[in-house]
Amino acid sequence: MNISGILVIVSPQRVESMVDQLNGMDGIDVHHIEAATGRIVITQEAESINDEVNGLKRIRALPGIILAEMSYHNFEEDNELLDAIPAELADEDLDTVKVPGFLNE
């Protein structure tokens, strides 16, 4: 589970409509708004970084976006994702005080 804080900047006239659009998107919560400067703070919750990046792209593709960039990331409690590392690094017998098997191949 990835949780990221994202800063979105739009022209001040568009803040309201942007907030509505963002609220309608999966995994997105709007937390803070500074209407005068067009700044909106959202969080995004996503299963994987792929989804996270795609989510960010989705936001950037909205009309009127000046900037959408991540600022904060929390990576507690996602050790299950370790299965995804490259096969040669995912040696089951890998014990860090021993020699990684593939070094001696």
């Binding site: 804080g5 937390h31 703070v41 970084i49 904060y72 690094l89 890998l94 990684p100």
Partner: protein, 914 residues
């Protein structure tokens, strides 16, 4: 994860983001976020990856890094992070971290052919020492080498440079940064007489025009690109132009994309120079007062070996071009010669020499570069209409010459990794200087870097084969004397002979002129072009290779001894970014197992050498400098005794833990604030090596336009790095501009005070005509450099261009980022980006596996025809992070002859279905 915890984390993420953006949030939200972060200790840090130098906050809890966030107080990134930066905390938790030294052994003895087995540090150093001393005795200081790094912290680079140069009297230390920005360095030294940019990142917010040349900033410098995008989108007058050989993500928000043929950036630059003159846009006042014109020889080769003895049969035709070439029709026009003329490469030994010319000569030089000539030569997309391409070049000239417009040019590897990389660097300054658009807010040519301390360590500390700290060089007797004085070592300890650059160290291992090498903070056996040669060389029976790394990399696999190494936030360190900003961090968590920092490894190795073993007379073949007997470094032992040293003293005692440095005590609570220092604690002799050595190092630059602040200053809570020169506690925003730079002469306006190469003979475009040297004190040089054709180009057999580079999600050879599951999942493997019609013509489609084959080797990759990179017909690209798609087996090891930086961008390949 339960719902309450998740909500807490979201509140916390939102509060951090709002704080970063300077948005006031309700006190209740702030309180909630504090609750979510209860027990997390935050401290400032610097990103481990590219040369941008983003500030990050590192959160630790119970001895583990649990979160990172963009540092809202960091002026570079203002609280933002890119996707890699985001995962800084995770790179240290890869499942296969090395935690014990590993050595190839059979029956309890070191054996080159043996299997890796865990050994103690003591045993590891014993073997390292034994092998070193054997080679050193047989071959002298030039028989050993260190592969250094642009990712060394400043103290790490300093320890190794001093140990090699003053201790072992060898200049065979060269960083992977050679592959990354050596051409930029040559451009700086040649043009300004001093290294590193005049401007800073604030140029982005000041400029009206951003031109990127061979820099895919959207993927490779995303945070700076966010600043550029912000500037572009918030101001309609701002224009962006992206010059590239393949259509990439940087093109996505550019106003104009110019796709050019590899190597023809040189021609486009000359077109712009010609146009500036034709349109009467030369800033004559500025040029007359602050600049001179210069040129040099064209027949400087391509940085390959001069012999074909070690070449594979298939690469001999290209290698032969090191000796002579036949000019093609475009080169002939560009160089005012005849097509078909055979040109012997006579200046391969002195490619850097140059002389002053007049403005009329300069004009004559650029005269052939008309729009018609340059457009037909440089158009990179065969499907683009020539007239449309011409209009784009003309439009680019319009932007540069516009008097009311500020222009910032950025570049990275497209310029630097180039068979004429130093020339293209010089030429971009030529454009800005001729216009008088340099060293002012928003106006200037700005070299971006790729590694976190390519500037701060590799360049400023001088971990290059020819450098000493603060722009000093080993071949200058005054510079050596100055360094010997600061280092308190006898006169003539330092070796005046330039050592081997990183590609040459590889070649030395292959031909037997280096037999002991230590790899630190880099992965050169994956990152060096033409890798098949070097992997074989590493395994040669009489070579001994040590690799220090946290992970089992390609380089580790071909080593004889692997030393487990502490990573970024497991040690104290300082980095210097591309805008001259020096930044520091503390040790946040302990390294795992027996892993130890590189500083400790260097110091511990130094303990094993007595002065009498290294400071006696040493043979250095080819050494022929003033004051030295040919081929020999003298014994300095007698002089050392006069200075109070004993021949029995160790290099550790004399160079590092000496009387002065031991006064700098660990623990040091005022700066450590409760953080540990595993290195000081393991040494256990009461000194604080990082601080003592940094404050010793800074003596080189103080008063010499390289002033750094004291160690403690960088650790202050209110400091987020400082841009050197730091004079009277104040950083310098724009160098060479009197308004901002206290080193400029009063009343000068601009003062290019750099001291290197500032006396030149005079001549015309072809030769020196007046040998008497004239001083150019205070002036910058505007070079004329002609277009020269790439030595390897597609032909009937190898019919496609191939370039390598980065993707956003991974960094360099992927040894860190591939161990972050999220990043690996995002981009698990390097794809071969190609044009759909090229794929179709070869009977392959998207997701097919193909062979990529060049004269040097072949690798398999999966084809991508629709991704983020969209090459025109005839061009291909694959990133180099993936050891499974080992693209450097394919790449050509041509270098810029001046900078010795490899050209990873122009190999001819063929592609066929696997």
């Amino acid at each position: 994860m339960d719902v309450t915890r998740r909500e807490f984390l979201k509140t916390s993420a939102a509060a951090a983001t709002a704080t970063a953006a300077g948005i006031t949030i309700p006190v209740t939200a702030l309180a909630k976020s504090k609750e979510a972060e209860a027990g997390v200790q935050w401290d400032k840090g610097v990103c481990r990856f590219c040369g941008t130098g983003c500030g990050i906050m590192v959160g630790t809890k119970e001895g583990r890094i649990v979160a990172t966030k963009g540092d809202p107080d960091a002026p570079v990134n203002k609280g933002l992070n890119c996707i890699k930066g985001y995962f800084n905390g995770k790179i240290i938790y890869g499942k296969d971290r090395l935690t014990q030294p590993l050595m190839r052994m059979t029956d309890g003895q070191f054996d080159k052919q043996g299997k890796f087995q865990a050994v103690s540090w003591e045993r590891a150093f014993d073997e390292m020492e034994k092998q070193f001393k054997k080679t050193y005795k047989d071959m002298g200081p030039h028989g050993v080498a260190v592969f250094g790094s642009g990712q060394y912290t400043i103290p790490e680079g300093y320890v190794m440079a001093k140990l090699m140069k003053a201790g072992f009297r060898s200049n065979n230390i060269d960083p992977n940064a050679r592959h990354c920005m050596a051409s930029a360095v040559v451009g700086f030294i040649q043009t300004f007489g001093i290294d590193e940019p005049a401007g800073n990142y604030d140029d982005i917010e000041h400029t009206d025009t951003v031109v990127t040349w061979g820099a895919n900033m959207a993927e490779c410098h995303p945070i700076l690109w966010a600043r550029v995008s912000d500037r572009r989108l918030s101001n309609e007058n701002v224009k962006l132009v992206n010059l590239t050989t393949i259509s990439n993500q940087t093109s996505d928000i550019a106003d104009t994309e110019i796709v050019f043929k590899p190597g023809t950036d040189l021609a486009i630059q000359n077109y712009l120079l010609r146009e500036i003159i034709k349109r009467d846009a030369v800033n004559h006042g500025f040029v007359k007062k602050h600049c001179v014109f210069a040129t040099g020889p064209y027949d400087i080769g391509y940085g390959m070996r001069a012999t074909s003895k070690y070449a594979f049969d298939a690469e001999k035709d290209i290698q032969a071009k090191e000796l002579k070439i036949t000019l093609d029709k475009d080169e002939a026009i560009a160089q005012r010669r005849k097509a078909g003329e055979v040109v012997e490469q006579k200046n391969t030994k002195k490619p850097v020499k140059h002389w002053m010319i007049g403005f009329d000569d300069f004009k004559k030089g650029v005269e052939p570069y008309t729009l018609d000539f340059v457009a037909q030569l440089s158009k990179g997309d065969p499907d683009e209409d020539l007239e449309s391409f011409k209009a784009k070049l003309k439009g680019l000239a319009d932007l540069y010459v516009d008097q009311g417009r500020k222009v910032t040019s950025f570049w990275t590897m497209g310029f630097n990794q180039h068979y004429r990389g130093s020339w293209v660097n010089e030429q971009i300054y030529a454009i800005h200087l001729l216009l008088g658009k340099q060293c002012m807010p928003g106006n200037g040519a700005f070299s971006l870097t790729g590694q976190p301390s390519a500037c701060g360590t590799a360049r400023e500390v001088g971990t290059f084969a020819h450098r000493l700290p603060a722009d000093l060089v080993v071949f200058n007797p005054k510079h050596r004397a100055f360094s010997e004085n600061i280092w308190k070592v006898p006169a003539k300890t330092l070796n005046p002979k330039v050592g081997s650059h990183i590609t040459k160290i590889m070649r030395d291992l292959e031909d037997g002129s280096v037999k002991w090498a230590w790899v630190q903070v880099n992965n050169p056996f994956q990152a060096t072009a033409n890798a098949n040669h070097w992997i074989k060389a590493a395994r040669k029976t009489d070579n001994f290779l040590v690799v220090s790394d946290p992970y089992p990399t390609v380089s580790a696999k071909v080593a004889d001894l692997i030393l487990p190494t502490a990573m970024i936030f497991e040690k104290w360190g300082l980095y210097g970014n591309a805008e001259r900003r020096t930044q520091a961090w503390r040790e946040q968590v302990a390294p795992p197992g027996e892993a130890m920092g590189d500083v400790w490894q260097g110091l511990e190795f130094a303990k094993r050498f007595k002065l009498k073993e290294v400071w006696g007379e040493q043979a250095v073949p080819g050494l022929a400098a003033d004051g030295f007997e040919n081929g020999k470094l003298p014994s300095v032992l007698a002089e050392a005794e006069k200075m109070g040293y004993s021949p029995e003293d160790t290099l550790y005692d004399v160079l590092f833990a000496n009387k002065d440095n031991r006064k700098v005590k660990w623990p040091d609570n005022s700066v450590s604030k409760g953080h540990a220092n595993h290195i000081a604690e393991k040494l256990g002799d009461g000194w604080f090596p990082e601080k003592a050595l940094f404050d010793e190092y800074r003596q080189f630059g103080v008063g010499h336009a390289h002033d750094l602040a004291k160690f403690d200053v960088y650790y202050r809570d209110d400091v987020r790095g400082l841009k050197w020169p730091v004079v009277d506690g104040k950083e310098t925003q724009w160098r060479f501009n009197e308004k901002y730079d206290s080193y400029c002469k009063k009343g000068s306006g601009f003062d290019f005070y750099g001291k290197a190469l500032k006396a030149l003979p005079g001549g015309d475009l072809d030769k020196v005509t007046n040998k008497e040297k004239t001083s150019l004190a205070g002036k910058a040089k505007i070079f004329f450099r002609p277009y020269a054709a790439p030595p390897e180009q597609p032909d009937e057999n190898y019919d496609l261009w191939f370039s390598t580079g980065r993707v956003l999600e991974h960094w360099h050879t992927g040894t860190m980022t591939r161990r972050v599951p999220e990043l690996h999942r995002a981009v698990p493997t390097a794809q071969l980006f190609m044009n759909p019609s090229d794929a179709e013509a070869r009977g392959v489609k998207r997701n097919d596996v193909v062979w990529i084959e060049s004269r040097r080797g072949k690798v398999k990759a999966v084809v991508e025809t629709q991704g983020r990179n969209r090459p025109p017909k005839g061009y291909t690209f694959a990133a180099f992070f993936d050891e499974g798609v080992f693209v450097n087996k394919v790449c050509l090891d041509v270098t810029c002859p001046m900078s010795k930086e490899e050209d990873f961008k122009k190999t001819a390949i063929k592609v066929y279905k696997a």
